[in-house]
Symmetry: D2
Subunit: 256 residues, 4 copies
């Protein structure tokens, strides 16, 4: 999809997102969205598509670093729990507790009993959140290996995207099928009525974002809340210009 | 400035930002950037210009909510200290400890003795961070009232920007000069050799972003670090396509 | 029970506690003990009996203050989860998540649906912790109203204990039966095979402490771990005395 | 000093401590006490003497574990700042930021530039806290090497105290003079008018505790605040006894 077409289609969704956030704030709704999927699938872009138009004091992205030594010994969900939303908050998880059933499983960072325990606990854990009233959405972004290869190559070649590429990503290239397998096991165990998964085809990332957004917005309850009335009388004086005492602005960036 | 021109000028800066982040990671540098300025000046956009191209696991934005009752009674800097960068991190403060000398001062949320105490402590506090090796940058974004009025009006009228407008913002409209005055007092007390302020003219926000970025990058030490070599051998099989068992992707967003 | 007899009986238990802590450290066991019960039952004393002989870097007491406004809107267990033990830690909860089914229920700080939701979630939550390998012990300290009255009166009269008495405690006096009723409902819902309750009679607090300790220690797995060998050669010089330069010790407390 | 004499002398101080805590709560005073000194000097016992009679929801002991890898790269004071008191709180630091000038210095865990930087920053940091109104008390507990040897030997032999002994403690035995030297350097740099040190002779630990307590209480402002009046009418029915439905108390500890 071309950028221009994407932007035209995105704009009305942006309005709906803003309305959703206003609704969450007015009603105290707590929204929690998990973004999972293959490397290069487009999680970062999808997260920006959701959170970009929103107030950063209301909508947080959670992208946890590797656990500390102490965290590794704690109840697995403990370090995620602290980031769950308070009233009115929208929390976007850039990867989530499902790490354990994905990269940790495939790359051997977790043992099979740990993975099994996770797959047993995840639906129970999520059930508690959902029963508590948290609106939980779980998206898994899919992409064919041909696309993945192309994007990895692009990350390697494009200095702007080079940081997205780690030796682990390259080691994971050869494990496309292992990831598929791990995903299917994960879906079997955790695609539940109370917390279903949604797969979105991200072979075209722009189209994928629109698809995800449309789905997310469609699944929200009626979020119509009027913005509060604000009165905006004219100033009673001509507008002032900045005046500088201690310090002046630095020279503008030179533009011919 | 037109969007297209901005994008052309921004692109090379993006590359430098990415290089800076690679350098910070390699050397363990800690970078801390404060964004202050008038309502509507363009702090959010400037923060996205800096952080947008970077790894969200390395570059965090800190946008604190109002303090809790307990926090209000603590040492003023306490709730900010916990967000200071660890090795390799870049932290962008969307408003900062300078709240006390700006909005809190002007809108009467802080007493004069509290403001005075803050103005006395801030340079001492910052001196400790800088002596500890943290790279601290303090930007204040300026804008004339005519621009501010136009942007407030736009926030009122544009549903996408409506959330940026609070009754406090409107109450602050009439206090343009009070903000100017508070800023000058703040600069007098806290524009120090070890932690100088930089004023950037944001009457044209796109130009302002370029100016800020150029300044930030110019003030970094030599940040040239080569990305690590990665080998990218061809796959030894044709690329696989996704295959779905438990669940299929949802229908794409309808595009004619 | 007389103090002297208590001390004699407590001493061997102290040794077992210390052995238990050494075992937890060596094996990475995580121990979590909840202390619940009526006001004045003796939770504080029981906690000191368990934690007193242990390393405060290993054994923490968690006594949470009232939740903040934001915490009140979160998943109920969220603020407790952050205090769960890491490997080798012993955490003593001075009141716990069961507040909701006790004081909050009886004093009307929680709604009936909130209490019902809690009673449904608590066993599930605890099941996750226990399945994860956390050793969870839940003690409820009982006391007759005659004892409670005597102790409340003592708190009122003894300036050393006066801080233990709040207006809420006095308001709760008249609700002895409501507390009994709430406890029974709580036991019905949360006395499970995986996380059973233990009631201990604290009409005699010293005896109650011994009973609780004996039970706790008996339920631990075999905790025999030898302390590491340390060599303690004689000093190769006569022991030195303190010498003071900058500052001397203050004058001793005057004892005739 | 004999236990009995100690207890008699301690009792009136306990009353003053309780009064001090009531005053702190009523006025919002923030009290911060640092306990430093040689291994075996008696920090733990001194802390229990101060905090023992107080409400654990008001008086916290902070005994930090070793820093994580990330914490090691942060501003040195960062991990301590989060534990500073809120209004009405009393915080007892079992070792403190002075670790850097003591054990870290002597045992080589910190470099000389790190120690120098610390000695330069500590008085500035403390000045900020004191100017903010925090009541800061710094105690260093002294003990001759003969006492220290005796206590180390006792820790080795007494199974109840064995956990207090680590290989580092034994390695530190031979460095009594290095500790003396490090202390003197530390005092030179950080014994300031706004945050003076107090040395207390703990060759007799019970006497040392009394001396420390007397000093602490004498340095507090007038802390007389009446406890609130509470009415304690007689019950309008005979006191109830516990009645058990779901579960009965376990058998008492057997006492002949």
């Amino acid at each position: 999809m071309k950028k221009k077409q994407y932007e035209e289609l995105y704009e009305p969704l942006e309005l709906e997102l803003v309305a959703m956030a206003r609704w969450a704030k007015a009603t105290g709704a707590r929204i929690c969205v998990l973004f999972e999927g293959r490397d290069t699938a487009g999680k970062g872009g999808a997260i920006r598509a959701v959170g970009g138009p929103l107030n950063p004091r209301q909508c947080r992205t959670v992208a946890l670093a590797a656990p500390t030594e102490a965290e590794k010994t704690q109840w697995y969900f403990q370090r995620y729990v602290r980031h769950l939303p308070s009233a009115g908050e929208i929390v976007l998880f850039d990867r989530s507790w499902y790490n354990r059933a994905g990269v940790e499983q495939v790359m051997g960072f977790a043992t099979q009993p740990q993975v099994d325990a996770f797959l047993k606990q995840a639906p129970v854990f999520e059930r508690m959140l959902v029963d508590d009233g948290i609106l939980l959405f779980k998206y898994w972004l899919t992409t064919d290996q041909a696309q993945q290869e192309e994007r990895l190559r692009e990350r390697l070649d494009d200095p702007l995207k080079r940081w997205k590429l780690s030796p682990i990503d390259l080691a994971a290239r050869g494990k496309y099928d292992d990831y598929s397998h791990a995903r299917e096991e994960m879906l079997k165990a955790t695609h539940t009525e109370h917390a279903p998964w949604t797969l979105v085809d991200f072979n075209d990332q722009k189209l994928g974002r629109l698809t995800l957004l449309r789905d997310l917005l469609d699944r929200m309850p009626d979020t119509a809340v009027q913005p509060e009335e604000l009165s905006f009388p004219p100033l009673d004086h001509p507008p002032h210009a900045e005046e500088y005492g201690v310090l002046k602005p630095i020279k503008d960036y030179p533009v011919e």
